[in-house]
């Protein structure tokens, strides 16, 4: 196995996914399959290939600095589970 149980736990934490103890083995196997596929890709000779920054070959898509109407406050908060005085209310947070 290329990917350890520790790494799986870390990836799960970073992606805010809950992976139960008994799922670690199967998840690891799936991730390893993906990594093996990447290994296959890395066998391609890319000596003369420029790194790709984007899937489409367009450049410089920009807009003028002209204001457009924003959403009204009630619309902005429409999907918020707990709006309060025009704010989005969230559980207490301390940055980790």
């Amino acid at each position: 196995m290329k990917i350890s149980a520790e790494e799986i736990k870390k990836i799960a934490l970073l992606s805010r996914l809950e992976i139960k103890e008994d799922q670690i083995d199967s998840t690891g196997k799936q991730l390893n399959d993906i990594l093996s596929y990447m290994d296959l890709i890395s066998q391609v000779d890319i000596t003369d290939v420029q790194p790709t920054a984007h899937a489409v070959s367009m450049r410089n898509v920009m807009r003028d600095d002209v204001p457009r109407p924003s959403l009204p406050n009630d619309k902005a908060l429409q999907n918020a589970p707990e709006p309060e005085n025009g704010y989005f209310k969230v559980p207490k947070v301390i940055q980790d």
């Binding site: 970073l14 984007h54 002209v66 009204p72 406050n73 005085n85 704010y87 989005f88 209310k89 207490k92």
Partner: protein, 479 residues
Amino acid sequence: MKYESVIGLEVHVELKTKTKIFCGCSTEFGAEPNTHVCPICLGLPGVLPVLNKEVLHFAIKAGLALHCDILPFSKFDRKNYYYPDLPKNFQTSQFDLPICKGGYVDIEVNGEARRIHLTRIHMEEDAGKLVHSGATIDTSDSTCVDYNRTGVPLLEIVGEPELRSGEEARAYLEKLRAVLQYLGVSDCRLEEGSMRCDANISVRPVGSTTLGTKTEIKNINSFSGVQKGIEYEAVRQAQILDEGGTIQQATRGWEEAKGITVLQRIKEGDSDYRYFPEPDLIPIEVAPAYIEEVRGELPEMPDARRKRFMEELGLPEYDANLLTLEKQTADYFEAVVRDGADAKTASNWMLGEFAKKLNEEGLRADQAPVQPDRLAELLGLIAKGTISGKIAKTVLPEMWSSGKTAAAVVKEKGLVQITDTGALEEIVKKIIAANPQSVADYRAGKKKAIGFLVGQIMKETKGRANPGAVNELLTKNLQ
């Protein structure tokens, strides 16, 4: 042991565009919470951000003024982290291909000129504002979020760790502010958060070439705070090392009121931001012709202006430095001179009485109720001998509060200087007669006694006597 500090600053400035970096929401400050938001800056699914042209323009302008290389090919990346001030759970920033690389800022501290190199400048979006419901973050059980600031364009300017003292850090930051203000790309108000500064600092024994463990100081919101925070942290780290301790890699907050840094959180290794190219934004190619076009827009920069003030207007270096530190001050000064005032007199007033009034009221030069032409008129009255410089100091506050012209204030208050020697001589004679003791002292060789007599005459004339004429008449009549 003697230690030296190694300091690097990361500076964020908000760009003065009308709209946000990736959507058409207004960037105006002070709106009701969550009223300058739209599906794009709220990070709703299925939206397509598009770069604001002016952000790229300002970034290139700043890069050129700071002597950076403008990268011909640049792109945006996602910086992933979870914190509710980012509705998307990532910040759109630039990782490996920032718009500017290299560059430098020249500073001068205690007569020593130094060149501080820049690592890079990149474009990114600002985050929202968290408002804690309780008295402090620890006592709050919830947090309110306002996303108006989310998506306001930022430049992050990363400096090399080449600064050696709090004083140098301050000079560097002041110079950056001057340059960006001259360009008109940012207000750079530390107090209002349109310029923010994080300082990385470590100390090492003098002569050592290995770097010590660094701490990061956050929450700095004044120029004196930058200097004092770094000075405090350098001493704190040196003490720990002297006592045989080790420095903990951590983020520390600067507490302005107490003048100390306090531990915020311990850092273990680099955060795992998992940068990857932003698939929703198209890469940027900057044509050499466009770079030249922007270069052509660069105004006179603070260093050039300072030099011109010294060479063309004959100002001392000290004056030229202070007058060019903020663009508004330099603009005001030049307007006063254009309206006919002598440069050195105008400078003395700008740095003296005028600066005092501005500081008292927390204003910038361009916000002063007395316009440059009005100040020039006041200085003109001194030059013509209509009023003395001392009287003028009482006229300025009056102009400031009433909005009247200098001439009107002088006329109303009867402040016109007495230069009529006949009238003055009478007063001089009267004072001599009334103060035989001082006269005797003077004649006995105590030349200082004349000061008292001058004072009496000024009192008698309510300061309106021409000081030169008074001296002359006194000396003559005392012989």
